[in-house]
């Protein structure tokens, strides 16, 4: 079988002793696009951050495996080099470090010592990706995310995604704050990677992104769990009818993780 497999099993995650995820199970294989949807405050972004190893999140139970390897035992940089990528909802601004230097360091980190990309090839790849995403070439020389608009930050995340070519990518609300033109460009970038070696987990609470990127599977999160899964038609129904019907169906009153057990 081609590509990698990310298995999330019974994942429980806390932040400052408050449990946010209460047993998430998901498996993403190479070639598959999964969408995780749900209202605000249901744990979607926590899932993304916990898989990548955000320092504020504590895993209290469960496991995350990438091709059978225990991801949770790895440092953040090791997770990335193993093939994981997270397009962040709020990427950090790093003053004094140009986007281009950062990209090159990232690419070389994945390629490993002795196998660094040549400067010429790097510039060629970067320029072509910048063009593809309709990003101003000046961005490469600007400091990483510093003073970037919301839309520029999102495009920069997708630029990194195109250049780093991970096996499994998680996109955390990559569509938030984007106008329709930017949304199309970002979607175009993501769709370019679609092949049997690439798996993707798209986190969003709007269906509109899924008009441009068709998911193979759709999952709904509420109260820190996946409460319903289905095909692309599930996303369509959510767009048409909202989340109320799921809550009724499952007898959920407050869908957020705030709910009292």
């Amino acid at each position: 079988m081609a590509g990698s497999t990310l298995e999330i099993k019974n994942l429980h995650v806390s932040i400052e002793d408050k449990e946010i995820l209460k047993g998430v199970d998901l498996t993403i294989k190479g070639g598959e696009f999964h969408a995780v949807m749900g209202p605000n405050g249901t744990g979607k972004s926590t899932l993304a951050s916990a898989i990548m190893g955000h320092p504020k999140y504590e895993i209290t139970e469960g496991s995350v495996l990438l091709d059978g390897e225990d991801v949770l035992e790895m440092e953040v940089d090791e997770r990335a080099r193993a093939g994981l990528f997270l397009a962040m909802q709020y990427p950090s601004e790093i003053s004094g470090v140009t986007t281009s230097d950062f990209l090159r360091s990232s690419i070389n980190a994945r390629r490993g010592e002795g196998n660094e990309i040549s400067l010429m090839n790097f510039i060629k790849e970067m320029d072509s990706a910048l063009d593809y995403l309709d990003i101003d070439k000046n961005m490469a020389q600007r400091y990483l995310n510093e003073g970037f608009s919301g839309g520029e930050k999102k495009r920069n995340e997708i630029l990194q995604l195109l250049l780093l070519k991970p096996e499994i990518a998680i996109l955390d609300e990559i569509d938030s704050g984007l106008d329709i033109d930017a949304l199309k460009i970002v979607s175009k970038g993501i769709n370019r990677l679609r092949d049997e070696n690439f798996g993707c987990l798209i986190i969003t609470h709007y269906q509109r992104l899924l008009n441009y990127i068709t998911p193979d599977k759709v999952h709904v999160m509420m109260q820190g769990r996946v409460v319903k899964s289905g095909g692309p038609e599930l996303a369509k129904r959510l767009e048409a009818e909202g989340y109320e019907w799921i809550k009724e169906e499952l007898g959920i009153e407050d869908e957020t993780v705030e709910q009292k057990a």
Partner: protein, 435 residues
């Protein structure tokens, strides 16, 4: 406190020193007067740093150094200061207290630009030096160290750019303290006459790890009306040198004095960079970066004093502290009465890399005028774990991610240095000091 340590150099010594160099009479008088004052004056009192026990009196006062015929004769560590592809046209290398090398392009000579060592300047441009030497910027009697400096001045450079002459190529100086025991009482005097402009870059360099000595450096930078001076420096005295480094700028009407200072000494250091915005519409951007390591104690002051209406001063101080080093960063914006519409902005940030290091950022605004704008920002903290997480999430190791963040933090000054080689050299010094 009265000074107990008696200087090993007296009136007779100074008299002889001055005469051997054929100095003009006024200079000898200035020295002798300063020596007298030095005894009575106290040491400066840098905020929150006690320097009473620092070595300011143990040193050897003079040493010569041989001239070189070609830059190839320089040791590699000094070659690094020079653009290899773009051979510097305007360069002065002071080896101990001798001029080892000095070039100035014919074009600039023809335009009347002066770029020479201070002793030659005292011979050939006596009037000009006398007009500016410790007059507009630094006074002899500010404290004991300025007086000692004036009494014992033993090296330095004089730069003069005549009216309306624009010097586009940087002038570069290397102060090479080759003898590990010799002190530098260096005086750098840079004058840009009305409507002129120049870029000047200097490096201080020594490798006296154990031998104790002193650097007492006074730099005066004068921008007459409508002149523009861009001043870059990398200080890199070794651990044995106790450094007092006073860089003072004066900007008259419509003039600009910009600073980019890499303060990379390894010994105890008091470094003050003060600019007086005397004229209307004068401007100064003062950017400094510092790294503290080992057990060194440092005190950095960046201060801009506004006298002129509409004057603008921007201070940026960034420091990185590791090991057991201690540093105080004072960022001071002072607006005098009458300097209406002045704008004083300052930012002092300190990045702590070790539990045992101490760093203190003190932003101070002193304002005696109503119609002004002013602002400051200060922080002392560690490398941001969320920034680290972001970089590491792309596969970059923690060590490399920290390196990127630290270099980025110091980039505002590194990037402003106008000579590529000096920029690279500062990057290397930072690399050496931080890792």
């Amino acid at each position: 406190m009265t000074v107990e340590t008696k200087l090993p150099y007296d009136k007779e010594y100074i008299d002889q020193f001055s005469k051997e160099r054929n100095e003009p009479e006024w200079m000898l008088e200035l020295r002798l007067q300063a020596l007298e004052q030095a005894d009575a004056l106290e040491l400066p009192k840098p905020d929150k740093t006690k320097i009473g026990k620092w070595n300011f009196s143990q040193f050897k006062h003079t040493a010569t150094g041989a001239a070189i015929q070609s830059l190839k004769e320089l040791p590699n560590e000094l070659q690094e200061f020079l653009d290899q592809e773009n051979a510097p046209e305007n360069l002065l290398i002071q080896r101990n207290h001798s001029v080892a090398y000095n070039t100035l392009s014919k074009e600039l000579k023809d335009k009347g630009v002066i770029f020479t060592d201070i002793f030659t300047a005292l011979q050939k441009h006596d009037d000009l030096v006398k007009r500016y030497y410790m007059k507009d910027a630094v006074s002899i009697d500010e404290h004991r160290l300025t007086a000692l400096h004036a009494a014992l001045m033993n090296g330095g450079v004089f730069v003069y750019v005549p009216k309306n002459v624009e010097v586009e190529v940087p002038l570069q100086t290397i102060f090479w303290q080759e003898d590990p025991e010799v002190a530098l009482f260096n005086h750098v005097l840079v004058v840009a006459d009305e409507g002129s402009s120049l870029t000047y870059v200097e490096n201080y360099f020594s490798h006296n790890e154990k031998e104790a000595t002193v650097a007492n450096v006074v730099t005066e930078v004068i921008a007459q009306d409508n002149a523009k001076i861009s001043f870059g420096a990398v200080d890199n005295f070794a651990h044995g040198t106790t450094a007092y480094n006073n860089r003072r700028g004066v900007a008259y009407r419509d003039a600009t004095v910009d600073w980019a200072l890499g303060q990379m000494n390894d010994g105890n250091t008091v470094s003050e960079n003060i600019t007086h915005l005397v004229g209307e519409n004068s401007l100064s951007n003062a950017k400094t970066v510092s790294v503290g390591r080992g057990d060194q104690t440092q005190n950095f002051t960046a201060k801009i004093v506004h006298f002129g209406k509409n004057s603008e001063g921007y201070i940026l101080q960034h420091g990185v502290m590791k090991d057991k080093s201690t540093s105080i960063f004072n960022g001071i914006g002072k607006i005098e009465h009458g300097a209406s519409k002045a704008n004083a902005e300052q930012e002092s940030r300190v990045l702590m890399l070790s539990e045992k290091a101490r760093g203190d950022a003190n932003p101070i605004l002193l304002i005696d005028e109503d119609d002004v704008t002013a602002g400051h920002a200060a922080s002392v903290g560690r490398v941001d774990p969320i920034q680290l997480y972001y970089l590491m999430s792309r596969g970059i190791t923690q060590e490399e991610a920290e390196r990127l963040i630290i270099h980025g933090f110091l980039a505002p000054v590194v990037n402003q240095l106008p000579i590529e080689a000096v920029k690279n050299q500062l990057t290397q010094v930072i690399e050496r000091k931080v890792y």
